[in-house]
């Protein structure tokens, strides 16, 4: 009985929508919009804060790096590898056919000066730090870096050659301020 009463309230005899349907819909839509409006800032608070964003660049003096040596600097909480490559390493990176690469990129596109390879030292699989900077570190089958966590091999251009990582080691934004100073970020 209650059902029939409410039905006749809400629908006109021809089964058309009534003003009450419209009011319920409109109120519901306003409620949904208001909820989104309230939840949005709550979610936004979890994004990087202004001070974290402000620390987004770092300057490095590279004059003391010998040929064949790699240094690690911290940028945005992550390690950045700066390797002064030997001529053999450059040649090896440039001799690779692009068809052999799963994330196809030429070495020329990954460096500004052939000698200086600058990379974010974070494995693109699950974020471990690959080995290969220190003397005696395993450098993998392609002479670059080797990630010990799940066995990804990177070449002398930091490109993924073997293992589960989907992408090449990322190249951060950087510029040479002069011959000995590089600004990362």
């Amino acid at each position: 009985m209650a059902d029939t009463a409410s039905e006749s309230d809400q629908t006109s005899p021809q089964g058309e929508e009534t003003r009450r349907d419209f009011l319920i819909l409109a109120a519901g839509a306003m409620g949904a919009i208001a909820t989104i409006g309230v939840v949005w800032p709550l979610i936004e608070t979890m994004n990087p804060s202004a001070d974290v964003l402000a620390l987004s660049s770092t300057e490095v003096d590279i004059s003391a790096i010998e040929v064949g040596q790699t240094i690690t600097v911290k940028w945005r909480g992550k390690p950045v590898f700066i390797r002064r490559r030997t001529q053999e390493e450059i040649d090896a990176a440039r001799a690779v056919s692009l068809d052999d690469l799963s994330d196809s990129e030429s070495d020329e596109a990954r460096v500004q000066k052939a000698e200086w390879l600058i990379l974010v030292g974070v494995c693109t699989h699950l974020g471990c730090i690959p080995l290969g900077n220190k003397v005696g570190d395993p450098r993998g089958d392609f002479g670059g870096w080797f990630c010990p966590c799940h066995g990804s091999h990177y070449d002398t251009s930091g490109r993924i050659r073997q293992g589960p990582a989907p992408n090449n080691l990322a190249v951060p934004e950087y510029e040479f301020l002069d011959d000995t100073l590089v600004k990362i970020g």
């Binding site: 990087p48 974290v52 945005r76 909480g77 992550k78 699950l126 730090i129 066995g151 589960p164 989907p166």
Partner: protein, 423 residues
């Protein structure tokens, strides 16, 4: 409902306004439980007790812990060395997490064996799966708080799983971290959520118990309660039985807390987190090892993450994958064998997860992963079609009394006197 305590005026006065006494009496004392529950039915209440123990020790630890990258590691050591009984609180909390998972895993496999997920207990089962997810999230974030090397790299590897999501993955990870790597904002929010999740757990546990008390417990025979002769009051029969199990569990927990407090931990977590050095061998806590093995069995980043999540999410649809109407494995001769094979498969996955992904471990991991999903997606649906189940007993009390009748019939257990009147 009038309880024995209603002889006190004050109880009557309170109960009239807030029926807390009659409610407790209804659900903890006279609640009709199947009379044939065995010790495998201890583990639900044991899990509840572990949750309480984790909350109590956790609240105490929170009074002495500082969630900041510069102080988290030191304040953890401060708890261990300076705080009165701090070492015991922390060892209870850390080993308590393992104990919690032990009893919950046994509880889940009890459900597998006796078909506790089948109609009408599907939503009860869903709440259980939700509890497992919340427990995993909570324990993972708790593991990050001491800010040791394994804490930091576990946080890095696990949060990076999110980056496998196409298009929005990277943005999502940055949002999750509150920065460009796992850092102070990450530690802070993990602390906040680690404190929150146990209370959400309490809420879901309440729903879990609500559904349980609405449709009543399953039992080793897997048949429905048909009359009051099939049940006995929860108290004293099962409160006492649960106490026996509690004694055993606390004994095991005490062995770990007092004699092997770091046996399940990683030594390297006593080295402070260093964002520039990854430890040579990263392993999760033991209770995550099977999922970790499944993650690594798939040679694709996104595929591995999907397989790992699916390995637990598949439990949500288990009530419909297992099409057999008979619940208990006691009456399912073939399923019983596959149950044990499946248990072995999960243990092997755990063993593979603990080892580096090299050589034959890769192959074993892949075979076991395929079998894990085949169990749910192929074996269970086929068994429902082809398995010939054994005949079910008429009722719980008839089955129980028939078993007893062999040695001493009519020894006066409750409800037995009227057994003959039941057709």
């Amino acid at each position: 409902m009038t309880t024995p305590l209603h002889r006190y005026k004050i109880v009557q006065w309170i109960d009239y306004r807030l029926p807390i006494f009659s409610w407790s009496h209804e659900h903890l004392v006279v609640y009709p439980a199947p009379r044939n529950l065995n010790y495998w039915w201890n583990f639900g209440s044991l899990a509840g007790i572990m949750l309480v123990l984790q909350i109590v020790t956790g609240v105490i630890l929170a009074m002495h812990f500082t969630a900041h990258v510069d102080y988290a590691f030191d304040s953890t050591e401060h708890i261990m060395r300076n705080v009165e009984w701090g070492w015991m609180m922390r060892y209870l909390h850390a080993n308590g997490a393992s104990m919690f998972f032990v009893v919950v895993y046994i509880h889940i496999f009890r459900g597998f064996y006796y078909g506790s997920y089948k109609s009408p207990r599907e939503i009860l089962w869903w709440m259980g799966v939700l509890i497992l997810f919340l427990m995993m999230g909570s324990s993972f974030m708790g593991y990050v708080l001491p800010w040791g090397q394994m804490s930091f790299w576990a946080a890095t590897v696990i949060t990076n799983l999110v980056s496998a999501i196409p298009w929005i993955g990277e943005t999502l990870v940055t949002w999750l971290w509150g920065g460009f790597s796992v850092d102070n904002p990450t530690l802070n929010r993990f602390y906040s959520l680690h404190y929150l999740l146990p209370f959400l757990l309490v809420g879901v546990v309440f729903l879990h118990l609500w559904a349980l008390h609405h449709r009543k417990s399953n039992n080793p025979l897997g048949i429905d309660i048909k009359s009051s002769k099939d049940t006995i009051p929860f108290s004293p029969y099962y409160t006492v039985k649960d106490m026996v199990g509690l004694g055993v569990m606390l004994f095991v927990l005490a062995i770990f807390v007092f004699y092997l407090p770091n046996y399940l931990g990683e030594t390297i977590n006593y080295i402070k987190a260093d964002p520039l050095v990854t430890p040579p061998h990263i392993v999760p806590e033991w209770y995550f090892l099977p999922y970790y093995a499944i993650l690594r069995a798939v040679p694709d980043k996104l595929g591995g993450v999907i397989a790992m999540v699916a390995s637990i999410a598949i439990l949500f649809v288990l009530p419909w994958l297992d099409t057999c109407k008979v619940r208990s494995a006691r009456f399912r001769p073939i399923y019983k064998q596959f149950f044990w094979i499946f248990l072995a498969d999960c243990l092997v996955l755990g063993w593979v997860g603990a080892n580096p992904p090299e050589g034959s471990f890769i192959l074993i991991g892949r075979i076991c992963t395929v079998y894990y999903f085949a169990h749910f997606l192929i074996i269970l649906p086929l068994l429902g079609k082809f398995e010939r189940t054994r005949p079910l007993p008429e009722s719980i009390h008839q089955a129980v009394l028939a078993k007893k009748g062999g040695d001493d019939a009519g020894s006066g257990s409750p409800g037995e006197t009227n057994a003959a009147g039941n057709p």
